[in-house]
């Protein structure tokens, strides 16, 4: 079967794959240089007490014109190069990854890590997603960030992020992946805190970095374990040897996978390390779209898919992945129900959707996880960018009237569809996609994950998988609710911005809405790359639109195949019916109609609520307050982790270090001084006393000599 996918044949000839990584780096260097130059000028302005202003009054300087072309340009070029490689790979018969080694990165007597990239079907998909979605977001940024004084700096960061993200997805070994892994974390840090003079935003960036580092700790230890087990850290060698070296379900591989999972929860914002992502919304909205929705946060999913062999060998580890994913999906969705900040809703939605991906890769449906990663990248990027367009419009409107209202609070919006029809339409497309309504992209991917979760219900840990399946179904319904609520609150009903402000609301410029439209198209048709067999036969086959079903699955088969084989051999693979009976088709129809019904009902309900603008509103009570306050998890962490650590640190400094350790050292000094003081007691100044001690000394000597 797979032969069909890879079509015709012959070896895969990569086309300058290094260029994909190199181009964003070049972009970073160029933009970085421009940013440094611009930074000097704006610093001079600040010193003279003015706000730096590159936009008004005089012509836009070169430092703020060039990034418009460099920033999106390099990423676009990288996308083109990736596309060429993709086409070539499609035309080739590739079963083994192609490794391109550039130089020896670290080589000691025993450890050898090459600076190498790995080209296979998985990294190809990720490259396309990163550069493709990345390009669109870069283009959007030109409009969104155009008036920011730090424009070149922004693009430098963004390019750097793409650079690291590509290292992450293309690296051929764990350490190289780790470079990207931490690199994107760092970029996320500086981009969240992009407006660094705002304390809250800087705090959010710091929080993201530190929480990510907790995950990185797990990843590091997992690497050590793998290294001591295999003596190498290259993917190919480890995955080749793993089935023979590691025991299925053994302690070692379980430990490795759990540690990797810790890393993944940090990067992909899963329980318990998800807390940084909602705060990360402090960054510019395109950043949220790119990093905190489409690419970086999916790195954990990518990593699990990449190490699928290990996870397949560790059923407990896989179950943990799926459980955490399901729990997160449900948990975050409930919080999303009660948020008012448009970006926060989307942030919790992202966490929830990432939970789905975790369920996908956790239950062993690696292709399904990646599939959802891809479609999610489309529609969530669209949602974020759409919300960015809304915020942009709101910001300008509020700016004109010098209103202090929050441009991100949905209570201040309402009825925006009149002002921004394009945004309104594309946002609805994305909403339907994320709600899982046929034929939008989200339907195919989400449904597949839920299906596979249910299909594990008869194997080992069956009850758990049933639970996961139920949670996923519930979360899907919640998704439909909170997304509909978001749409209705933002675009429908009465306008709550205020009379004067409403005059200034207008649609985003083309440079912003064109990427939205492209993403909307992808959100509609993106799901067709992996139409389930059952649906293809019954719905689409008749139209002859798709040559084959489950294309992505087959495409990824060379990567995920070994894992699936292990799964089939040890765990019995997937059943052909859901836990309570029924085939794939039945459940697909059921879920999509249920979702549609939920959308319609909740649209009705939400429309009926009379929202007040934020400054007139009161804080909700009861359960809604708990949800609005995000279950008080931040407070909990603060009390259980942050404060104790700070207290411990103060204790370590004041009591242990200054008190005990330095106290002992100084105490020795004082002891010496005390001895000295005692010695001064003998220095009476009286000649007689001196003579006395002299005689005593003589006595001692005499006594020693004479006897």
């Amino acid at each position: 079967m797979e032969g069909d996918v890879h079509g015709a044949h012959g070896a895969f000839e990569p086309f300058l794959p290094g260029l994909v990584i190199l181009l964003p780096l070049v972009g970073f260097l160029l933009n970085g240089a421009l940013a440094l130059a611009a930074g000097r000028r704006s610093a001079e302005a600040v010193r003279q007490g003015r706000e730096p202003d590159f936009m008004h009054g005089h012509e836009r300087p070169l430092t703020h014109r060039l990034p418009t072309w460099i920033g999106p340009g390099v990423v676009g070029l990288a996308f083109v190069v990736a596309l060429i490689n993709f086409v070539r790979m499609m035309g080739a018969d590739l079963h083994e990854p192609v490794i391109r080694t550039y130089w020896t990165w670290m080589a000691t007597g025993s450890l050898k890590v090459e600076a190498a990239i790995q080209l296979d079907q998985l990294s190809m998909v990720m490259m396309l997603v990163v550069t493709g979605v990345g390009f669109l977001i870069h283009v959007f940024s030109v409009g969104y960030m155009g008036e920011d004084p730090g424009y070149p700096r922004y693009f430098a960061y963004l390019n750097l992020f793409v650079f690291f993200m590509l290292i992450l997805v293309m690296g051929a070994s764990f350490p190289v992946l780790f470079v990207g892994w931490e690199g994107v974390g760092f970029c996320s840090y500086i981009l969240i805190g992009y407006w660094f003079t705002d304390r809250e935003k800087a705090d959010a960036g710091k929080k993201a970095f530190i929480v990510n580092r907790i995950g990185d700790f797990g990843f590091l230890v997992a690497m050590f374990l793998l290294y001591t087990t295999f003596g190498t850290l290259n993917f190919v060698e480890i995955f080749d040897q793993a089935p023979s070296v590691l025991v299925y379900g053994g302690g070692l591989v379980t430990a490795v996978t759990l540690l990797l999972l810790l890393g993944a929860t940090g990067k992909s914002a899963q329980i318990p390390l998800y807390v940084w992502l909602p705060d990360a919304m402090a960054g510019p909205t395109p950043v949220s779209a790119l990093i905190h929705a489409a690419t970086m946060v999916t790195a954990g999913v990518y990593m699990v898919a990449r190490t699928s062999v290990l996870f397949a060998l560790a059923p407990a580890g896989s179950l943990a992945v799926a459980l955490i994913g399901a729990a997160t999906a449900l948990f975050a969705a409930t919080i999303g129900l009660a948020q008012y900040d448009i970006k926060r809703v989307l942030a919790y939605s992202t966490i929830s959707q990432l939970g789905y991906m975790f369920v996908g890769v956790g239950v062993g449906a690696y292709a399904a996880g990646i599939f959802h990663l891809m479609t999610h990248a489309f529609f969530k990027a669209l949602l974020f960018l759409g919300s960015g367009a809304v915020i942009h419009a709101m910001h300008h409107a509020l700016h004109h009237t010098h209103s202090q209202a929050d441009p991100q609070d949905m209570r201040n919006m309402g009825g925006l569809r009149k002002f921004m029809p394009i945004t309104w339409i594309v946002m609805w497309v994305a909403t339907l996609a994320i709600a899982g309504i046929w034929p939008f992209a989200g339907f195919f991917s989400k449904d597949e994950i839920i299906w596979y979760a249910g299909a594990r219900a008869e194997g080992p840990y069956g009850q758990w998988y049933t639970l996961i399946w139920v949670a996923c179904l519930a979360a899907a319904m919640l998704t439909a609710i909170y997304m509909t609520r978001l749409m209705v609150m933002t675009f429908h009903g009465r306008n709550r911005t205020g009379e004067k402000e409403a005059h200034h609301l207008h649609e985003a410029p083309p440079v912003m809405w064109v990427p939205l439209v492209v993403l909307a198209v992808l959100s509609v048709f993106g799901g067709w790359v992996n139409v389930p067999q059952a649906i293809q036969e019954s719905f689409l086959g008749g139209f002859g639109l798709l040559p084959m079903a489950e294309w992505l699955h087959h495409w990824l088969h060379p990567v995920t195949g070994p894992a699936e084989e292990i799964l089939t051999r040890y765990a019995g693979g997937f059943a052909h019916h859901a836990p309570f009976g029924g085939g794939e088709l039945l459940w697909a129809v059921l879920s999509t109609s249920a979702a549609l019904a939920v959308v319609l009902v909740s649209a009705r309900v939400v429309s009926g609520i009379a929202y007040k603008p934020a400054h007139e509103d009161v804080e909700p009570t009861g359960l809604r307050r708990v949800l609005y306050r995000k279950y008080y998890v931040d407070e909990l962490y603060d009390a259980l982790v942050v404060r104790p650590v700070v207290r411990l640190s103060r204790f370590a400094w004041k009591i242990v270090d200054q008190g005990i350790v330095d106290g002992v050292a100084n105490g020795l000094g004082y002891l010496a001084r005390a001895f000295g003081w005692i010695a001064t007691l003998f220095q009476t100044g009286s000649v007689n006393t001196y003579a006395f001690f002299l005689v005593v000394g003589v006595l001692v000597v005499l006594w020693r000599v004479a006897f």
């Binding site: 001064t680 220095q683 009476t684 100044g685 009286s686 000649v687 007689n688 001196y690 003579a691 006395f692 005689v695």
Partner: protein, 97 residues
């Protein structure tokens, strides 16, 4: 007789020491030191009776040095007295740190 002389020398030396330790008058302390010197001289002389003339030569030198010492020491005491109007050593505590 030698042993007896040596014992006498030891006793005189002890008495001299006692004087140095007990007296506060600088001149008397000085005198006690002279007594100690004499005790040693006695031992030298007594032994030279049996070992040869060298001991007596030593005593000669000791006496000379004692003379020199007395001259300088008394001069110092005089100048100290001029300054402090006393020779009580308890009043001189410059040696104290």
């Amino acid at each position: 007789m030698l042993i007896e002389a040596l014992i006498l020398s030891a006793l005189l030396f002890g008495v001299g020491t006692l004087g140095v330790l007990l007296r506060r008058n600088a001149i008397i302390m000085f005198l006690c030191i002279e007594l100690q010197l004499n005790a040693v001289n006695l031992a030298f002389v007594a032994l030279s009776r049996y070992l040869g003339i060298d001991g007596q030569v030593f005593v000669f030198f000791v006496m000379t040095v004692a003379a020199a010492e007395a001259a300088v020491g008394l001069a110092i005491i005089i100048s100290i007295f001029r300054h402090y109007e006393t020779v009580n050593v308890d009043n001189f505590n410059l040696l104290k740190w």
